[in-house]
Amino acid sequence: MNRMHSVFTLAIGLAVVSCGGNPEPEVFEFPPPVEEPAPAPVDDGSARLEAMAADLCAQAAQAMQAGDYTLARQRLEEVLASYPGTTCADGAPAQLERAMAMQTLTARIYFGFNLSEITDEAAGILAAKADVMNQHQAVMLTVEGHCDERGSLEYNQALGLRRAQAAADYLGSLGIDGARLRVVTFGEERPLAMGRNESAWAQNRRSEFVVTAGGLR
């Protein structure tokens, strides 16, 4: 449209010049400007905060799903600290409590070489689990026994069972009903750390705890 307009203007101009004299320049009416939409109300930042908080909550939920309760806690604590008043922050305390409970319930305990005795450190971890289980009576755990690779394959299955049972027995001594615990062994077949050194072996001599019921996820 504008290009047509320009071509038309140029043609008229040339006609005027060719006729000589000082003609009055033609005045053209341009079409009225298109009406702009009304400007949006001024953003006070709350929507942006909601979006950022929601993103953190989504990350927390994803971490919970993946069993990374440390990350879930970090994200939820960030929501509470940085985005108070958002919808996500309103629900964060309950989610944070769930994440902390799951972190406690799934915390690993470790054992010495060829041993199934509960260390002082493991006892503390198990006591914390028992507290959570007492608060959440629907929670049920599978207690897994694992070993490093140095024993024989088959002996390690027996050793893994002994470790898992030792952990379950300790929870039992703290009042947890044995019916809420399933004791299993994987021997050396599910190592946490690869490598043939004490650091890897120490990480692999462990019990893991899997929450199988209780609605905390």
């Binding site: 070489f113 060829n114 199934s116 897994e144 140095r150 024993g151 024989s152 394959l153 088959e154 002996y155 299955q157 027996a158 050793l159 069972l161 002994r162 898992a164 049972q165 030792a166 379950a168 027995d169 004791v183 299993v184 062994t185 994987f186 077949e189 599910r190």
Partner: protein, 430 residues
């Protein structure tokens, strides 16, 4: 033996296995002394056959020659002649230092060949044994095993009745890269590698042949760590679950055929029988039962002193005596005992300076010998000849399964490139 094969075997043999002094295991007969380089020379002559059986005859000769080589009782010498006269020219063979000459003919039909085999004592210039064997069709999957049985008969003739190990199989588990494992069997010469169907198990363990070699008991673990004890019939493929539970381990048949295994309950693992009897003490874990040929004694792994060691006891009686080395305060570990079929030795693996080594020991704990010295060598199982062991090796070259002769120290690779372990050697296949 062909020079190339000699070279290959020579290349495989050193390093992993320590040559032992000749054992006083009753195997010294007819002046044969089983020492490296001093085994009597044996030659397998070309097998005569009509034209329609020539291919089968060549295969028969190769199987016989390799079996007799793998028996580690002879020094294989290539045949001097394309044809052996009847009787053979003993002087000619004697000049080539051949002590035993195996001469054979394949006759009959392509579907029912008959192998007539004679064993000649070249030194005495006489045929000591001769027998005709009816074989299945060369196309049959049972053909090779039938020829292996002939090899074992030749070993028996040449050694005054000793048991061979050619007609046998080895069952083991193979670990895959995803952490799962499966059950396999292979003939003792490395042929006929076959996977045994085990259903949906995430892992399988500890295959054990029944005394008749027709069945294998094994345990399995599902993804959720439920264990099962199974028996599979190799003839029919039928699989049966015998028990399931928290932990089922190391099944073993007694010489009488009763199934015994380790059963883990409430954190404690004990050795139990099919009939429910408990064969181990209650105060310690116990697993890996293996029985003396008369079934009266049992060797097993237990840890009453804190570290797993090998113990021997009269079945149903206390006390048990330890036969592996335990040094208080040191991280020692012994595992997977296997009682030799002749009852004279128990093989097991033990940690030596942090590495697994195969050992053998008398059942009373005396005369302990370390058999291997390379990498981690574990999980030994005796051949029916009570002199060969199969075991797993992990070293800088990877994982493999080896067979070693405990008398000469000669060894060979059975499988490689996979994590093959928990082997069990069958009785002779009928």
């Amino acid at each position: 033996m062909p020079a190339a094969l000699v070279a290959v075997l020579a290349g495989l043999a050193p390093g992993g296995v320590i040559a032992q002094e000749p054992s006083d295991d009753g195997s010294v007969r007819l002046g044969i002394t089983y020492e490296p380089g001093r085994a009597p020379a044996l030659s397998v002559a070309p097998v005569g056959a009509p034209s329609d059986l020539e291919v089968a005859a060549r295969e028969v000769r190769l199987i016989l020659e390799r079996d007799l080589d793998y028996s580690d009782r002879f020094r294989i010498t290539p045949p001097l002649l394309e044809r052996v006269s009847d009787p053979p020219n003993y002087a000619l063979w004697n000049e080539a230092d051949v002590v035993y000459l195996v001469a054979a003919d394949l006759t009959g039909t392509a579907t029912r060949p008959v192998l007539r085999v004679g064993l000649h004592d070249v030194v005495y210039g006489t045929m000591t044994n001769v027998q005709a064997f009816s074989l299945p069709s060369p196309a049959s999957p049972t053909f090779r095993m039938a020829v292996h049985r002939v090899s074992d008969r030749i070993v028996s003739w040449a050694t005054g009745g000793q048991q061979g190990m050619a007609a046998t199989r080895i069952a083991f588990r193979r670990r895959s890269s995803d952490g799962r494992s499966s059950l396999w069997i292979v003939d003792s010469d490395g042929e006929n590698l076959t996977r045994v169907e085990t259903g949906s198990a995430d892992a399988v363990y500890s295959p054990s042949f029944s005394p008749d070699g027709a069945r294998i008991a094994y345990t399995s673990r599902s993804v959720d760590a439920t264990y099962g004890l199974h028996e599979v019939n190799l003839l029919t493929g039928r699989r049966e679950e015998i028990a399931s539970g928290q932990l089922l381990l190391t099944p073993e048949y007694t010489p009488g055929g009763e199934l015994v295994w380790a059963w883990g309950r409430s954190g404690r693992t004990s050795i139990v029988t099919e009939r429910g009897a408990v064969l181990s003490d209650t105060g310690a874990d116990a697993l890996n039962p293996t029985f003396s040929p008369d079934g009266r004694q049992m060797a097993y792994v237990s840890d009453p002193a804190g570290q797993p060691q090998i113990y021997v006891r009269e079945v149903g009686r206390a006390p048990a005596r330890r036969i592996s080395v335990y040094v208080r305060g040191e991280r020692s570990n012994a595992a997977t005992p296997d009682w030799s079929p002749d009852g004279r030795r128990i093989a097991y693996s033990a940690l030596v300076a942090g590495q697994w080594r195969i050992h053998t020991v008398n059942p009373d704990g005396t005369d302990r010998r370390q058999i291997t010295s390379r990498g981690d060598s574990e999980m030994p199982s005796w051949a029916p000849d009570s002199r060969h062991l199969v075991f797993s090796v992990a070293d800088s070259r990877g994982n493999s399964m080896w067979i070693a002769d405990t008398v000469t120290g000669r060894s060979r690779i059975l499988t490689s490139g996979f994590i093959d372990e928990l082997a069990d050697w069958s009785t002779p296949v009928r």
